[in-house]
Amino acid sequence: MAKASAWAVAVGIARRDLLDLWRAKMLLFFFILMPLLLMTMFGFIYPPVPKSNPSTGNIGTAFSNLPVALVQMDDGQTANSVAAQFIQISAQQGLFKISEIASYPAARDQIVEGNIKGIIIIPQSFSDAIAAGQPATIQVTVDETNPTIASVVQSEISAVFGIIGSDMSTQSINNISGGKVNPAFIIQPISITKIPLITGVSSSFQFLAPGFMALTVITGSLQGVASAISREREQGTMDGLLASPIPHVSIILGKVAAQTVRGLIQGFLILGLSMLLFGVQIYGSPIIMFIVMVLGTASFVGVGIIMTAVAPDQETAQMMTMLLQFPMMFISGILFPIDQLPGWLQYIGKALPLYYAADALRKVIILNASLAAIMPDVLILIVYTFLTMTVAIPLFDKAMRR
């Protein structure tokens, strides 16, 4: 009898697995929906931020018309004028929706009730201080129960008063010097202009999308392999494969190939959606992206197989992959920069291949990195693949014949 080649068998197994997904219409639906939903959510959490431009007094913000209260305790002319300017600038740029409230306690109650996000207080002595040629203070309270909004409100208030303050300084300098000096030189002798890393990139999501792509593809295939193998074991079909004269490595290769194809489909769905909805752009080579994605998947599959071999059933295998997958989101530099973590956690993060896959993918997609530039990442992924497979294949063999 002719022997089936290991490769042909692996391809056959992969084809069957994919056909199975194609025929399970509801599974297919959620298989497609999951990355779309995930990406849309992440996309809206990190919305594109228009650029601030200090020279034109333009303040970039991700949020518009945030409700805040203005408590004016000074009736002086300067205070009134500053308040009017604040209201005008805020309205022009759509930053705040301002309501005037008579007292601080009443305004604070409004924060507690959740109606407003911040309070701007112009204290009683404001006009007097300015008239006396002394710096005056504006007091601010923000709704600190929501840290993101709180920091946005605080920085926007500072920015608006910055503009008002510079106007006042310009006037004073002009008065003193009689127009002989450039007021800007005195107010801010050194200014900063940002040259973007990539021209035209306005969305911070651009930098996050590759990481999410790597995360979805890799965790998807990790879980996929683990549950595909344990499902076949429980369902009994694995016996049909194991009792036939095919090398066991064909079973593994077939499962891996099917999961890689599934992962790539999800990955490119994510990419397509982020391009369409959130203006993400690809600057690098699709071929290198493809290589990184395949390597990223391959590096995790061995881990998936090891977990399946160790776990007594499908449910346990799933729990084990979840346990790996969930913290990986946080410690692999995808949602948060890895440098933010305590040292030991950084080591764990860097011990997992997701970090390198996400890093390489980010560099390729955004920075148009060449294969040579991401070689360290690529090599680590290859080494990881080999190491895990070296453990996984004999373990699989043994576990299946326990």
């Binding site: 002719a2 089936a4 080649s5 199975d20 429980e234 016996d239 194991l242 004269p245 059933d313 449910e315």
Partner: protein, 271 residues
């Protein structure tokens, strides 16, 4: 104890031979020094109460489990050291159906057949011929998931003989089938014997064992209780009922026990 490397045996008159075959799961001995000799071309009825060790023996013979002790040869090949050769020569119908519910009957046959390196055209011919034999030609392009258990089992049995294995293991092939399907599968088993397959059959239905088997082996607690032809057993125990002989040998008490070792492949396992 370590396994002795078994030499390649010359073709013997036996399709299956085991010597001191033993399987332990932790401290539990599922199969305890079993010696079997299955002749070529016979139907070997392999009987025993639940948990007696039948399936464990079959799984070892199919290379799906590694014996703890002893040797087993299938068609002269050692199940541990020549697993590849053994796998080419056996067909397995296990307690669980070896079939993908989301493939059609023909696709299932084509998939499993391809594992044996059968040329596609020949495989297709063979599959269609076997489907015709089990009267499933009109359903060949329908998903197996929608089949009745009788239809599934018919596909499952022909799946196991696609590559013309010398030796066929049928682990409870009629369990859960209606009388019509049971009759059909039993006739199919006889037919397969006619075609020259050696068949190891396990069943809990004594009349089935009586009707089909050339010889019967009863095991209990992992040990062989008796091996003989149905007629010789009846003569020896002076009864016409194989069931009485079975109960005489294995006792009448219920087999309630709970092992710490939970087998993934037990029929109780989630599917």
């Amino acid at each position: 104890m370590t396994l002795q490397r078994a030499d390649l045996a010359p073709l013997s008159e036996y399709a299956i031979e085991t010597h001191g075959l033993t399987k332990k799961f932790g401290s539990f001995t599922a199969v305890d020094h079993v010696d079997l000799a299955v002749r070529r071309g016979e139907i070997y009825g392999f009987l025993g109460p639940n948990g007696a060790g039948k399936s464990t023996v079959i799984r070892m013979l199919c290379t799906l489990l590694i014996p703890t002790e002893g040797t087993a040869r299938v068609d002269g090949y050692d199940v541990v050291y020549h697993a590849g050769e053994v796998r080419e020569r056996i067909g397995l119908v296990s307690e669980k159906m070896i079939m993908y519910p989301r493939l059609t009957a023909l696709e299932n046959l084509m998939f499993f057949g391809s594992l044996y390196g059968i040329d596609r055209a020949a495989l297709r011919r063979k599959s269609e011929e076997l489907l015709e034999m089990v009267k499933l030609t009109p359903f060949k392009d329908k998903l197996v998931g929608g089949f009745s258990s009788g239809m599934r089992q018919r596909v499952n049995v022909i799946r196991a003989v696609l590559h013309d294995p010398d030796i066929l293991f049928l682990d409870e092939p009629t369990t859960g089938l209606d009388p019509q399907s049971t009759r059909f599968v039993r006739d199919l088993v006889k037919d397969l014997k006619q075609r020259g397959h050696t068949i190891v059959l396990t069943t809990h239905i004594m009349e089935e064992a009586d009707e089909l088997s050339d010889r019967i082996c009863i095991i209990d607690h992992g040990k062989v209780m008796t091996i003989d032809t149905p007629q010789a057993l009846k003569d020896k125990y002076k009864t016409n009922s194989l069931l009485d002989i079975f109960l005489e040998l294995t006792g009448r008490e219920l087999r309630d026990s709970a092992n710490a070792h939970i087998s993934l492949r037990s029929p109780m396992g989630r599917t």
